[in-house]
Symmetry: C2
Subunit: 247 residues, 2 copies
Amino acid sequence: MEDNLLLLSNSQTHNMGVLEHAHEALIDFLAGQRAIYFAPYAAAASAYDSYTATIQEAFKPFDVTVTGLHTVDRPVAALRDAEVLFVGGGNTFRLLKTLHQLDVLNIVRERVTRGELRYMGSSAGTNMACPSLRTTNDMPIVQPASFTSFGLIPFQINPHYQDPPAGSTHMGETREQRLLEFLDENDVPVVGLREGSWLRKRGASLKLEGLTAARIFRRDTEPQEYQPGSDLSWLLTLPTTFDQSRS
Amino acid sequence: MEDNLLLLSNSQTHNMGVLEHAHEALIDFLAGQRAIYFAPYAAAASAYDSYTATIQEAFKPFDVTVTGLHTVDRPVAALRDAEVLFVGGGNTFRLLKTLHQLDVLNIVRERVTRGELRYMGSSAGTNMACPSLRTTNDMPIVQPASFTSFGLIPFQINPHYQDPPAGSTHMGETREQRLLEFLDENDVPVVGLREGSWLRKRGASLKLEGLTAARIFRRDTEPQEYQPGSDLSWLLTLPTTFDQSRS
């Protein structure tokens, strides 16, 4: 079976309800599945329950049950049988630290790749689908065992991609400057996924969908804009090398 | 001897030359010292020389020599005799990865604490003076051996602290939200140091100086604003605990 990924830049777009902007994509992604496990680990532990309740509410229109992965005794065992996993947004470092502690990276990677487990992410959860968290926007509030994440795709995504604010006098780096720094150290393409858009992967096919264009960054190449509907399958076969400084 | 730290939020403020906004503070900090080692490791390796040249130019008014630490054979040995170290801004993860690789953390920590080595940082270099890089704004483009940094002060600084942009529809976290996330996981105060300001530490005295107010974040406390000139020495004696989730 081919894998089935839905990677949202964000769970909620300005002036819309949670997941509302991606309603049609969710129907297509779920396609008859009735049970979802939700990983709330990007939130503070004290907020796991309320976060899961919000997601349960957002999934009501889809006639599915949503179970917080934090409520099961053995997450690895649950993921061995699960059919859909949704990893929510929040702080990517906190999320990855917990995923390493729970030791769920291998089982998710294997079952998603074999097409047995559908994977849906938003924001930090989308970042986790990449080989590494290295293109997160989040603050490193805790130290994960390593930066290695699920690696369901071979390239990196920058969720909530943001164009430079017009007329800013702030001297901190723009998002584009940060991603160019990433390319100084890693020869790995990055999809700057603006809010309102998502990537959909099925086997060898990768597509940009949603409301906004994406900006793709590659070493020694001018950044390129791609409109929703673009076929990005070529990103799945590009060679990549982490930790290779530009000479 | 007491230690002597100058921790700038940023090296260059809007419409001013490099280090120009902190000219008086630099005269006081240097106080007759004539030789500075500059650590350019927050920049890409290919830019070490040009970055050092920029800093050499900026220090011309102070009649000091600036030597790039990357140009000496044994940085640890150089730092054993150095009198002033300036760690410049750029990417904090890249900087800390290199500092760990060069194994210079201990010698700098020891000599600064004993008052033998003056420490000056800007941006990423200021972050390095904290116990950890956990309050950096930078993208984790490479993975350092650990998040532990020089620890010349017991609390954290967030350089380039930025207030939320008015009327933004962006769903990503504001800087304040990020720092509150840090406080969810760590009971450690954070000074949000706006561009144009700096902290000056000498022994048991800590002072906020410069052009802008700072915003100080503590767990279970409303964030507080402090004006330039404020005595912040109380920050040096507060208890701190990393990796302690808020219950």
